[in-house]
Subunit: 253 residues, 2 copies
């Protein structure tokens, strides 16, 4: 036990097997728990993330909570934790939270961004952070397609198999297309991104929606697929956009 | 001999010993010449860059020229070169140039950008591409200081020793401060950059100017130092800003 804390953390997920602790694998949660436990003097610390980002997915604003049993003040904790962590993980902030605060269950909305590059060759500054789609697809078309998923739907059909959940209804508030990459240089002319904000997202749901939009825009599958998937109870069978283009941008409480 | 070509190249300079070929070291020019020579079928190709970026300095738009003795068309050359090069180097374009085109001597102006971060901790997405200055300095002050170097001056005092050149007069057309990093994520609030455009830049001149501006803004040295340096014939003795924040953005002909 101890005092509940809420922290915002940023990471380059390229070389991690995702957020969630897995035996023998390098995970963000694992790295955080290891260092927190060390600073706390050995009492094992367990953290709870707002969302379980997949292997290779990045975060600009992941949130986690845990109980902090130590006398070490939060300012010093933030500083020491940052010094001990690998440079791919950065603690943005640590603050006290209500005793019952839960990073997963209390999240009101999340924002994800997905980065697409249509350069002929990999860009040295964005290759780790975007999906290269060649030739480029019609962004106006993707903007229209993205509007189809806005609202409250059963997103079970956009969920990859492997996770059993009963309630697959979610609400997407906005799904917008912007120019420019999520991470990249000032002159990135050949990048664009899709940003989704919603009350929750199922396993691989963003990457499956992006894969579907691009497949439709490429003319590989008909537009009607979106409505069919929204009515399908079966797991997604289409193309899943690569992890490296996806960022958990922000979690609101 | 062969047909003169002009190419634009982009690179992450982090793990290179700079642009210029040096025996036993990993350089951008060396990597390009090696692959060009292979594609040309063994006839050794020598390339000439617009500027010799230093170890760790990046480029969004470095330009080089060379003579292309092979029958391989330029489109195919670009494609094959990109495939053979490491992902840190990307060929933006290759085009035919006038027989007497010279990437160094014919450059009319160059644009450099220098990226500064004032986050408390290293940012996973910008740590390789910015200098972390803590605490932050007054950007308005730096904006004013940057104006002092605009114009035609003898910049010999901002040149690090090690290079012998007779003519150290250069003209800086603009020196401006902008919000945001040169390379980084969409939500980079704690970054800013200085962009210089001029007809030419001496060895380490941009990094020495940035180091001086920051030292003055920090109150470590008086503002009068800039005028003194501009009148000094001796090599720069102040603080040189780190290579990783510097980008050669564009070369105009």
């Amino acid at each position: 036990m101890g005092n509940r804390i809420k922290a915002i953390v940023r990471y380059d997920g390229t070389d991690f097997a995702g957020w969630q602790v897995q035996p023998g694998l390098r995970t963000v949660q694992g790295a955080l728990e290891e260092k927190l436990t060390l600073i706390a003097g050995g009492a094992p610390i367990r953290v709870i993330g707002a969302g379980r980002t997949d292997s290779g997915v990045h975060a600009l604003g992941q949130v986690f909570c845990c109980d902090w049993p130590s006398e070490v003040p939060l300012d010093e904790l933030r500083r020491r934790l940052s010094q001990m962590l690998v440079p791919e993980i950065r603690i943005e902030s640590i603050e006290p939270a209500a005793d019952d605060f839960h990073a997963t269950w209390h999240a009101k909305s999340k924002r994800y961004a997905y980065s697409i590059c249509h350069g002929r060759e990999p860009d040295p500054f964005t290759e780790r952070y975007s999906w290269r789609v060649m030739p480029d697809v019609d962004r106006a078309r993707v903007r229209e397609l993205a509007q189809r998923v806005v609202g409250t739907h059963d997103f079970g059909g956009f969920c990859s198999k492997g996770v059993q959940i009963d309630d697959t209804e979610r609400t997407i508030h906005t799904a917008e297309v912007f120019d420019g990459p999520v991470v990249g240089p000032i002159d990135s002319r050949d990048h664009w991104r899709i940003e989704f904000e919603g009350d929750g997202f199922l396993y691989k749901m963003v990457r499956n929606m992006v894969g579907t939009f691009v497949d439709i825009a490429r003319g590989r599958i008909p537009e009607s697929v979106i409505e069919e998937i929204l009515q399908m109870p079966t797991p997604y069978l289409g193309f899943t956009a690569p992890a490296k283009g996806l960022f958990l941008v922000e979690v609101k409480y």
